[in-house]
Subunit: 333 residues, 2 copies
């Protein structure tokens, strides 16, 4: 049925091992035999069996990418980028939706897919996995997003404090004085870090800090942003600008503003974070922090692969993703 190594060997008139050697670029092979073998491989359309190879080598060239939900545009774009980066290096990505379950738990539960995968890129949305890898099973792991306090993993993320500072400062620079924040989360996650940058910017601008303008909300999707914006508009003194901690929140907020008949950016300016495609085409188009997702993916994969094939004990790395502030209609008149 399936062609296997021995079929190729038979056809090429060499031993099974020689074929294997050809495939694995073993140095000492005559160009003659190499040619013979390659001809046989081509003729039979032979493809190595990954299961067998992985069983024998203990390495599969599969990595996992764990994200909260792939239907969320940011994560979809991230997944696409990681897949591309991995494919370029000949490895395959398994995308894992953690779906709100405590992701750390889930990974351990999954048992790393029965030892198939070589490592994992983990992108938690809020909770950070402090305890993964304490198990002996530990495979290499690269963490994306905010780093947990006592992290012991390689880590790739935007400097969220700085980026949030920039975003907020931009709002200040166009003359806004009552700047709200949507997406302020608890814990040590994204929300907290971005809030830090936001507050810092307010302080730097000499603006008062009004707790009523910090909206926690329950999630990071459009409805959450829409609801938070409604709450802000209901305030006795509504804001003249909003910094949303991700683009979905911002798009939800824009929707509320449109419904309320308010003009953006004239009445309320809005800034997001992530630069998802939806924001670029929305009207008004969304000003946002744009992390370089290709860079992120490229380096996350690179870091993980480095870990997998070699220096498992090298020092922990911490990479900062380049970003830009994309100024669009939601802040520029």
């Amino acid at each position: 049925m399936t062609t296997r190594l021995s079929d190729v060997a038979a056809r090429a008139g060499v031993s099974v091992k020689t074929v294997s050697n050809v495939i694995n670029d073993y140095p000492h092979i005559t160009s003659q035999t190499r040619a013979k073998v390659e001809a046989a491989i081509a003729a039979l359309d032979y493809k190595p069996n990954v299961s067998a190879r992985s069983l024998r080598k203990g390495r599969s060239d599969f990595i996992a990418l764990a994200i909260p939900e792939m239907a969320s545009p940011y994560f979809a774009e991230l997944g696409a980028a990681v897949s591309r980066a991995a494919k370029k290096r000949g490895i395959t990505v398994l995308i894992d939706q953690t779906e709100g379950e405590s992701a750390a738990e889930k990974l351990v539960l999954d048992g790393m897919r029965g030892q198939l995968i070589d490592g994992i890129i983990f992108s938690p949305i809020t909770t950070a996995p402090t305890r993964i890898g304490t198990a002996g099973t530990a495979k290499p792991l690269v963490l994306l997003g905010e780093r947990p306090a006592g992290g012991t993993f390689d880590h790739v993320a935007v400097d969220s404090v700085k980026a949030s500072f920039d975003a907020t400062t931009h709002l200040v620079s166009i003359g806004r004085r009552r700047i709200a924040a949507i997406g302020v989360g608890g814990g040590a996650g994204t929300g907290a870090v971005r809030r830090k940058g936001y507050r810092k910017a307010l302080k730097a601008a000499g603006l008062p800090h009004d707790p009523a303008l910090e909206l926690a909300g329950t999630g990071y999707h459009r409805p959450d942003g829409a609801a938070s914006m409604r709450a802000l508009l209901a305030l006795p003194e509504p804001p003249d600008a909003v910094f949303c901690f991700n683009d979905l929140l911002a798009l939800g907020a824009l929707r509320t503003l449109a419904d309320a008949g308010l003009s953006v950016p004239d009445d309320v300016a809005v800034v997001g974070f992530d630069d998802i495609e939806d924001g670029r085409y929305h009207s008004p188009s969304l000003t946002t922090i744009s992390p370089d997702k290709e860079w992120l993916a490229e380096n996350a994969v690179g870091l993980l692969l480095e870990r997998i094939s070699g220096n498992a004990e090298a020092a922990r790395r911490d990479l900062s993703v380049p970003y830009t502030l994309e100024i669009r209609e939601s802040t520029a008149g």
Copy 2:
């Protein structure tokens, strides 16, 4: 390092075979031994080695989902749904971005991931794979979307002709007379089928068919929709409604309309297809054909699994995905 079957056996005080029997639900086992074994499995956190199992059994419980690009919202949502449906049945989905390369080619190239995957769900955007599976390697394949002419695969899709008819008829019913279509593609793909429904509806309504109102465009993304809409507005007699063959096109079109200062739906009504989340929160929110994606995923996975484990020679199946027309602001004043 890793716990294996024999470790479990040792701890439970039984033979390896018995442990294997427990795991594979062999019927004749005392509840006592079963309990012992299960305790040992839990204690050691044993996870069967997927590679070994797959090598031996010839089945991996992995399936692939091939989509053009996962960053596209419709496909992201589809991928999420398929992953969920598969996980429910204990199987894992590998998502494959075909990225515009002739997907058929690519699949064959990939050699089905070295025999790892048990089958594939294939969702081409335009070109239909007529020749896949002619190779002897053929694994079960379920096709999503428009069926190619001489298809020999199981197939799950919305009745696009009917849905397009409904969408267009809806525009007629709100009084529109010059209804354009964006996304008319060549070949036997999505574009052609939806155009058929569109034309049918025009004819049924006794409206003239103006070729100038059928825009082919180059792709299925926002920029394509925006460009097509610009072209339509440049006509001596612009349309008063547009049926876009997917939501991204529609969102692009809406953007152009907003830029042109036209009111939706008063000046131009817009209908999309797919019901992606962006459309629901856009302002105006987008009227669209909403296929039941969960149903689609559930049945595609079901069909594939049926094929994989059993009647490989059963008759070809053809499932029609339920859909609704979601009427929102872009057509309802």
